[in-house]
Amino acid sequence: MRTVKPAKLLRLHFGEGEQYRGKPLYEAIVHRCKELKIAGATVFRGLEGYGETAEIHRHHLIRKDQPIVVTIVDTEENLKRLIPEVEEMMDTGMIATSDVEYVRIENPATAAG
């Protein structure tokens, strides 16, 4: 039986060049999410974009600075735990949340093959 549950979608926007303690920021954030037992996180790389510093994020030959979006879906309580942590890790960038509904799919019977 399908259960549609209300949840929150969190999106973090920043540049690929952002670092946190010597690691790419997006890797550090995904790692932190796992530590905090957040349901899931996905990192997407954009082609081009610009943000608050009005600097165009795009692919340079030597410098990686394309825009990065991290999307996270979880309950409101879990995201409340996560947001302050992430805020501290990010220097510049944007955090956006929105209301969503989600369906978790588990069909072990539909064997792939």
Partner: protein, 241 residues
Amino acid sequence: MLQKGTAKKVTIFINEDTQHHLSSLCDSILTFLLHKGVSGATATRAMAGFGAHHEMHTTKIEVLTQHLPVRIEFIESAEKVDELMPTLYDMVTDGLIEVHDTQIIKVATKERPAPPLGPHTELKGKARLMRIYMGESDKWRGEPLFEAILKRLRLMDIAGATVYRGILGYGAKGHTHKSGLLPFSRDLPVMISVVDSEEKVTKAMSEIESMMQDGIIVLSDVDVVRLVHGRPAMESSNANG
């Protein structure tokens, strides 16, 4: 122009050498259908057969090669078939006409794109955005799951869908999706975003659910701001991206 959905298929069985006003009946019927604006008609000559007269016609024996059966088929809407039927009934003096219900799955034309005022035009305004998360290496009956889902959405006439590949992530299955050193061994996260009316998205969701083994589907309300050629070109919402 035919539309997807229910229609009528007409099959006419006649003799190759039946005459109608000094020309072949087969040609007359095809000319008539062409003038009436029927979307398409095909005449096929049989290899062998027999009809009401119970005489075998076959290409194998030269004496019997006369009066070979010809079958003319065309598909049209019920109203159009209704309009054509009296004339066809009159024309076929020796043969058989049958009509059956049929389902049109796809109407594709190469030269002309679909009419710009498609059924999605009414989508403008409130709509639903569905995001489907899965792994790049997930399969559905041997083909990549994201491709299978995209094809299914197209078959269902969903206004638009986009596949995104993530560069890093983890989720339902608990393992990290990360690109390995070898490009062909990777299992990166994949997200498909779909925009259409609530009703169509709900319908698509149940189809997709049965195709997926694992993953999540996230739904949100959006406003469609602009549509071009029946497809959403831009969407703005409180949950876009």
